[in-house]
């Protein structure tokens, strides 16, 4: 069963096109990473799914309902980001109690134990927490709410490496014990490829790809060797990235293709896998040339 279905979903603000003709669906009980560069449209997409924003055109259904103003979506969904400001009069414990009133599957015991584990004082206030601890607390709320659709928009902002690891581990354990549909946005796949099942890659408001992580691992290859030979072998293929490292070491990253691989092997070229993280970076590289070119104006 699909929890989310989008058809030709677009969203534009006054001048800027934020999302353009997205069509995809998210299956029930999967963890999907919404990956994209800063400003790619991740947050806009997630907030349309959550029912906070209205799409400009196209169709979207969540639990078979249009999410905007849908009570059913709101009750079965929680959206965690670090932008939220809650009334300063509430302590962390108050917020947990409130969440328990609203979310039917709320596990207060879990929330309390996690608060204790991360050394968060229940009587503290949200606005007194540091950026990382704030994210930690909100992530705890997101997990303990046990909503059938759980959306984390850049949940690890400000968390240090240890807390981040703990969070991913907690997320996985919770997911296995109580399966639910999870969307998790990030600008990098880094640290996430073991956690995610699917990747939804967005670039400049457009859907670049929507694949299982396992397939993404096989998506592209690097052909490495002498520059001219490499270029000859990959001729007329779409090249995601070219890189010269050392005099005789030239790498080109292309879509996996058995014909090309065969030819590369015959010519004694080196073939290397490309990590899903790198593929996402290459597919969404929107800069003109490289950063080096900004400083190096004499070379063309």
């Amino acid at each position: 069963m699909n929890v989310i279905e989008c058809r030709q979903l677009s969203k534009s603000y006054l001048r800027k096109r934020a999302l353009h003709q997205l069509t995809f669906s998210i299956r029930e009980n999967t963890i999907t990473g919404v990956i994209g560069r800063n400003g790619a449209g991740k947050t806009t997409l997630l907030k349309i799914i959550a029912g906070f924003y209205r799409p400009s055109s196209g169709e979207i259904t969540v639990f078979s309902e249009r999410p905007f103003n849908s009570m059913k979506v709101s009750q079965n969904m929680i959206y965690i980001d670090d932008q939220i400001t809650l009334p300063t009069s509430l302590s962390l414990l108050d917020i947990l109690h409130m969440a328990g009133r609203f979310y039917p599957n709320w596990d207060h015991d879990l929330a309390a134990r996690m608060l204790d584990y991360f050394n968060l004082d229940p009587l503290q206030h949200l606005h007194h927490l540091s950026k990382g601890l704030r994210s930690t607390f909100l992530a705890i709320v997101g997990l303990a709410a046990r909503c059938p659709l759980t959306i984390f928009d850049e949940p690890t902002t400000g968390m240090d490496a240890a807390i981040r690891k703990d969070f991913y581990r907690a997320l996985l354990k919770e997911y296995l014990a109580h399966p639910r549909t999870i969307l998790l946005s990030s600008h990098l796949l880094h640290e996430l490829d073991d956690l995610l099942e699917d990747v939804l890659l967005i670039d400049r408001g457009e859907l670049k790809l929507h694949l299982p992580v396992d397939e993404l691992k096989e998506y592209a290859v690097a052909i490495i060797g002498d520059r001219e030979l490499v270029e000859w072998v990959i001729a007329s293929r779409t090249v995601y990235h070219r890189q010269q490292s050392g005099i005789s070491r030239y790498a080109a990253i292309i879509r996996r293709d058995e014909d090309v691989l065969e030819e590369a092997r015959q010519h004694g070229l080196e073939i290397a896998p490309v990590s899903p993280e790198d593929i996402c970076v290459y597919l969404t590289n929107q800069t003109k040339g490289r950063i080096d070119d900004v400083f190096d104006r004499t070379e063309s």
């Binding site: 709101s74 079965n76 400001t85 009069s89 609203f102 979310y103 059938p148 399966p179």
Partner: protein
Amino acid sequence: MMYLTEPSLKRVIWNQYLFKMTALPGLFTSLILTQLAAFALSLDGTGGTSIGFDTITVRITHFSGDLIFYFTLMWAYIAGIMLTIRQYRNADFFFVTNRWTQHLSTIALLLTASLYAGIVTPLLGNLLRLVIYWSHPDNVMTAIAPRPGELLLNLLITTWYAALLSCFGYLTGMLAQLNRVFVILIPALIIGSVYVQDSGGILTAAIRFYAGETSILLLSVKAALTLAIVYPFTMLITSSLEVRR
């Protein structure tokens, strides 16, 4: 397997109402502070005249709870506006709600606050009379004890006025959320209409419509009708307002 739960509107509105009552104690403390300020200002009297004869001077000073009443209405208007600001609305959407339940729970909160103002204001007016009675032992006093039924009447009047003002404040705030133009336009309209000398001003007409009413029953009907029109209107014009921007 996680099952979808079907929401109950009543339950969500009740939860949102409880959330706001717990999370926004400032709404009630700000009224206390406003009224204390008005109370202190009223101790000097709200008006007076002196009549002098050859050797005698009679000084008449009016003391009344009017200032407390007007300050309360100002507070109600501002409270209505405050509840429309983005941070508060975003916080509602951290939990379960849609735009309708959000409006309805906020309206319930404003009505509760109005009733609270309606109870406190007349009592404070009476306290003022007592304090003045005790602090001016040598003077001739009139109208110290409240007339029978006066407290209840004042309670109703204050509640209705506070409910009206907070409702208008809510509309004002929501209009400003829809378009920033209203931030300038609404104060300009209000101030402008004060300066319109003939009876054509909107504000003058509005005040005459409500304050000119001498029957409490008719005032109640007028106020209730106004709320029944202005609140749904506000809900309709903001039904597509995006949140957590």
